[in-house]
């Protein structure tokens, strides 16, 4: 690990130890927060008991579906609009202010449109992620050298083939930023939607534990969410670093 890596490790480790001590010595009350070590033990027990298996797989499926949709639709829409500069100029302000919308205020609309169950949750996760992917596609495509597109024409490739075989691979490192954001936003969207719209899933289970004063389960599930997001991001980071190294970026 690099020096900086050790420093970061120290910051996180130190914060956990500090929290643990404050909980153990009563600085923070039991009803507010349980010690991190208890969270870990409780999580371990929960996972072993199998009680949260369904909720966990449900949430992971919802997140995976929204990420896949956000990335695929975001790339497709982004590449089409990128080819239409006028349309792009017209809608760019909307995209830029998109994340200012408080989506969750509209949750009744989602229920009316998509019913309850899995659909509205995936749709919210998707809506959170898709615009980040569109914007990343614009950024990536803006960097494609003219000579590459002309090469595609010299090989008589059509617009779709050019997008998939030339533009997509060229822009991949820049699209990766969009994928990372789509992943983060989809997680946020899905878990938050499960709080208010669902009757299963991790978000729902956290809310349920909270409503039943079950602090230990609630914190264990929060820890699980943090671990999940951290692992997914670490994997993405490794993939991105590999892509960038090969391209000399």
């Amino acid at each position: 690990m690099t020096r900086l890596g050790w420093i970061r490790f120290g910051i996180v480790g130190g914060a956990i130890v500090l929290l643990e001590l404050m909980c153990r010595f009563g600085v923070i009350g039991r009803r507010v927060l349980i010690p991190p070590s208890d969270m870990a033990v409780q999580l371990w027990n929960l996972l072993r008991s199998g009680r949260i298996n369904n909720d966990l797989s449900e949430t992971l499926l919802n997140v995976a579906a929204s990420i896949a949709l956000a990335v695929a639709v975001g790339f497709a829409v982004g590449s089409v609009i990128h080819a239409l500069p006028r349309v792009r100029r017209a809608i760019e302000p909307f995209l830029a202010s998109y994340y200012a919308l408080p989506f969750f205020a509209f949750y009744p609309v989602f229920i009316v449109l998509f019913g309850i169950g899995r659909m509205p949750i995936i749709v919210i996760g998707f809506l959170f992620g898709v615009v980040a992917m569109v914007i990343a596609t614009f950024n990536g495509f803006d960097r494609i050298p003219r000579a590459l597109v002309r090469t595609a024409r010299a090989y008589r490739m059509g617009p779709v083939e050019t997008a998939l075989k030339i533009k997509l691979p060229y822009a991949a490192p820049f699209l990766f930023t969009g994928v990372k954001l789509a992943v983060a936003y989809s997680f946020i969207g899905v878990i938050a939607a499960e709080f208010i719209l669902a009757s299963s899933g991790l978000g729902y289970s956290i809310a349920y534990a909270f409503n039943n004063f079950d602090n230990r389960t609630m914190y264990a599930l929060m820890l699980l969410v943090i671990v999940l997001v951290t692992v997914v991001n670490a994997l993405l980071h490794v993939g991105e670093a590999r892509l960038m190294r090969r391209r000399g970026l």
Binding site: P145, R146, A147, L148, R150, T151, R153, A154, Y155, R156, M157, I166, P169, Y170, A172, R246, R247, G248, L249
Partner: protein, 276 residues
């Protein structure tokens, strides 16, 4: 626009421009940039034709129009007896002035790209790719990625990628610009060898007088923008020439002829851009 003399194309004419101009439209609907022409040009089948002219005179534009990459504003383009439309006809290979290597593919996959695209079978792809790697001196770099190569090597990857397609008309836009003088001479000889072997027609855009004088059968000399063909010079070299003709007295005569034609145009090109 169809001019009457276009109807009869002699059998040995491979590609032809008749009354071709190109005006780049201005974004604000203004008069635009008149980049080229009117140009009349016939490439004979199997000849090595060089185009030389001052910077910004419309050489790359000429290549674009000839290959179907951009439409002429007026005039007509014909390749192998058929009018060239909005797509690049089969049989034309292009090497662009800018680096067009694919950074996400290895050198080998870069070279094989067009063949895979064209659905050539695997064994044949390997055979042609191996040959091109050796020919371009890239064998040791087959598994490298373009960002790991020098600019000159990347340009050789692009040349190889075009040559494996075995085009009947090869258009090269200053392909040796990124190379040092010695490598340029060697690459020039290799290009001549390839041209003899494949019997392809070659149009080479360059701004190096010696390169044009040494390699070509004919040289089209262009004026400052809007580019016109001021003169066409026959070199009279035999087909099995190579860079040693640089010591031939005729070589000196051709280069000084080229320079006397180009001197005034080059001053115009520089002065014009300094003023505007």
């Amino acid at each position: 626009m169809k001019s009457p003399h276009m109807r009869v194309v002699p059998a040995d004419v491979h590609a032809q421009l008749a009354g071709v101009t190109r005006v780049y439209p201005a974004a604000d609907g203004g008069p635009g940039v008149h980049a080229l022409g009117p140009v009349d040009l016939s490439l004979r089948r199997g000849e090595f034709y060089a185009v030389i002219g001052p910077s910004g005179c419309g050489k790359s534009t000429l290549l674009d129009v000839l290959s179907g990459l951009s439409p002429p504003t007026t005039g007509e383009v014909v390749f192998e007896g058929k009018p060239v439309g909005r797509t690049v006809p089969d049989g034309i290979g292009i090497v662009f002035q800018e680096d067009a290597s694919f950074p996400w593919l290895t050198v080998r996959d870069n070279i094989a790209f067009g063949l895979r695209q064209g659905g050539v079978d695997g064994a044949e792809i390997d055979r042609r790719t191996d040959y091109a790697l050796a020919f371009m001196g890239l064998r040791d770099f087959a598994r490298a990625y373009p960002p790991q190569l020098s600019g000159g090597m990347r340009q050789r990857v692009c040349i190889a990628r075009t040559l494996v397609m075995q085009p009947r008309l090869i258009l090269l836009d200053e392909p040796f610009g990124a190379l040092d003088a010695q490598t340029r001479l060697i690459m020039g000889d290799e290009l001549l060898r390839l041209w003899r072997e494949t019997k392809a027609t070659v149009m080479l855009i360059t701004h190096a007088l010696d390169e044009a004088a040494m390699l070509s059968d004919r040289i089209g000399v262009m004026s400052a923008r809007p580019g016109l063909i001021l003169a066409e010079i026959e070199t009279g070299w035999s087909r099995d020439r190579d860079s040693t003709i640089a010591s031939d007295p005729a070589f000196g005569a051709i280069t000084s002829r080229l320079w006397s034609l180009l001197r005034a145009e080059s001053i115009k090109a520089v002065g014009g851009s300094a003023r505007s």
